[in-house]
């Protein structure tokens, strides 16, 4: 083989390996769910109201983990449900949040988190009824929670009836569900505020807290507060 051919072969081989490594890094290590932006055009720190709509499903048939429970976020511009758990909101704004709860119950590991904290008024509306806490043990009435620890926000998600035939295709558009609405203020300081579900709903993983519980895009995510 001539010298130029050897050089070209070596160069091609090197580029192939480099491209493979870059693909791995980008595709697996840097991959992140998309961010749904709310409140575009809203001036931060004015207390303006921003509406955020989410749903939690018993499965996720749009991903490679169809048996993982998952949240979805509704894009305010298109009305389409996005398979992501990352959303951005303006700083110092009032968030009116609606979450549709399509999943069934799993008792909380710590029933304390059946207690609503951090909302305006200290309550959440379950199908329009103001509620301050839901007992997840006695009646198995909690499916998931929406919790942002750094602002002490915690909302237990009420569930459909135990005998209900749950929605089987994500994102759910029909089927038995509960509707939770609540309001809270975003911090005045811009930053990333993680949120999580506190119900150990990662079945098949240690303590029920692996898989979807520790993967962005399923049962945990980020609230990006922008100013």
């Amino acid at each position: 083989m001539s010298l130029p051919a050897r050089v070209v072969t070596l160069l091609v081989a090197f580029l192939a390996v480099a491209a493979g490594a870059a693909f791995l890094v980008v595709h697996y290590f840097l991959a992140s769910p998309s961010t749904v932006a709310f409140g575009s055009g809203v001036m931060p720190n004015t207390g303006a109201t921003v509406h955020v709509v989410m749903q939690e499903d018993p499965q996720n048939t749009v991903s490679t983990h169809p048996d993982w429970v998952s949240y979805f976020i509704q894009d305010p511009k298109t009305g389409q449900w996005q398979h992501t758990t990352i959303f951005s909101v303006p700083a110092g704004s009032k968030i009116d949040m609606t979450i549709y709860g399509y999943d069934g119950c799993t008792p909380l590991r710590n029933p304390y988190f059946g207690y609503v904290t951090g909302t305006i008024g200290g309550y959440a509306n379950v199908d329009g009824k103001p509620t301050k806490s839901i007992n997840s043990w006695s009646g198995c009435n909690v499916g998931h929670t929406f919790s942002i620890p750094s602002i002490n926000l915690n909302i237990p998600m009420a569930t459909p009836s135990l005998t209900a035939n749950l929605c089987g295709t994500s994102p759910c558009t029909s089927g038995p569900h509960r509707t939770l609405t609540f309001s809270f203020m975003t911090p005045r300081k811009a930053g990333t505020y993680f949120w999580q579900c506190r119900v150990p709903c990662g079945g098949g993983f240690v303590d029920g807290f692996g898989g979807p519980m520790q993967t962005l895009g399923f049962m945990t995510g980020n609230m990006e507060v922008v100013s």
């Binding site: 069934g104 119950c105 799993t106 008792p107 590991r109 710590n110 029933p111 304390y112 059946g114 207690y115 904290t117 301050k132 806490s133 007992n135 043990w137 006695s138 009646g139 198995c140 919790s147 620890p149 750094s150 002490n152 135990l162 005998t163 993680f194 999580q196 506190r198 150990p200 990662g202 079945g203 098949g204 993983f205 240690v206 303590d207 029920g208 807290f209 692996g210 898989g211 519980m213 520790q214 993967t215 945990t220």
Partner: protein, 316 residues
């Protein structure tokens, strides 16, 4: 009388300045100044601060290590610097260095000095593990505390770790649970630290308290706050995706303010407390009797009181 052959062949001891004395005279004032600066200037600012007796004791321990280590370090650096200047090879000097024989006095002094320092630190460290007040220095002592504070009943605060938040129960106030951590000043506090899932570690930095939170285990640590102020709690055991965000703040307040807060919170959270399991030093959240009823009602069997059937959760 003629000299013996051995004495005749031994090379003469090198003559010249007394390097040992020179090094000592350089080292001594530098070490004295460094000790004064460490003790008087650096000492009050060393971590973890002065908020509690335990933190103050740890600060003193670190100061003691500085005070002991500084002269040794300065001696090493002085010797190093002096050697660079005094023992460097001059231009045109191709001779070997002088033969050096062991010096019994120096060796004995070195061995004795380092042995004294190490043995002192062993005794000092052992003593400080119990101090202050023979209450365990803020460390987790396990379920049966070896050292307990004297005088009065400590305020009991249960620390519950769970992915990814610490919560706190106050059994002497009806067992209410909250995410806020308040302590009274000048009163011994007994932390009962446990976990509901994986291993966490309760690290209240400015309090000088660090105790592992193990599921099914009660780990006791004591602290007595000597000043009012705020402190930070962090998890110090890698516990999953949001371990780095498992943090919250706490406050040391006056005894009157604490009493008012605890009484008010107990009343406010009465309905929530009623939903909690009875106060216990440990909890087994994998077995929830009520879930059987709920699951049976839904026609689901197989979990036998656990979240998932016995073969689940399994290792992924």
């Amino acid at each position: 009388m003629a000299a013996s052959p051995t004495e005749a062949t031994r090379p003469a001891e090198p003559t010249g300045p007394n390097h040992g004395l020179r090094i000592f005279l350089i080292w001594l004032p530098v070490a004295v100044v460094a000790e004064l600066l460490i003790w008087l200037v650096l000492g009050p600012h060393l971590p973890p601060g002065n908020l509690t007796d335990q933190a103050h004791s740890q600060q003193f321990d670190i100061l003691m290590l500085f005070v002991l280590a500084a002269p040794v370090m300065i001696f090493v650096l002085t010797f190093f610097g002096y050697s660079l200047v005094a023992f460097r090879q001059r231009e045109g000097d191709d001779e070997d260095g002088p033969p050096i024989h062991g010096h019994t006095g120096i060796q004995a002094t070195w061995i004795t000095g380092t042995a004294v320092i190490v043995l002192f630190l062993a005794a000092f460290g052992t003593y400080e593990l119990a101090w202050p007040g023979m209450a365990g220095a803020g460390a987790g002592e396990g379920p049966s505390a070896i050292w307990t504070p004297k005088g009065g009943t400590p305020l009991q605060i249960q620390v519950i770790g769970q992915q990814w938040r610490f919560t706190y129960r106050y059994p002497q106030y009806g067992g209410f649970e909250t995410t806020a951590l308040y302590l009274p000043v000048d009163q011994p506090v007994q932390f009962n630290v446990t976990s509901l899932d994986v291993i966490h570690s309760f690290w209240a930095y400015q309090l000088g308290v660090k105790a592992d939170a193990n599921p099914g285990v009660n780990n006791i640590a004591f602290v007595t706050a000597k000043n009012t102020g705020k402190f930070v709690v962090r998890c110090n055991e890698l516990c999953g995706l949001w371990h780095g965000a498992m943090t919250n703040g706490g406050t040391v307040v006056s005894q009157a303010a604490f009493q008012a807060w605890a009484t008010k919170t107990e009343a406010q959270l009465a309905s929530v407390t009623a939903q909690l399991p009875p106060y216990s030093l440990v909890y087994d959240p994998t077995v929830i009797p009520e879930i059987n009823k709920a699951m049976a009602k839904a026609g689901i069997a197989g979990a036998n009181g656990y979240y998932y059937p016995p073969n689940d959760p399994a290792q992924p």
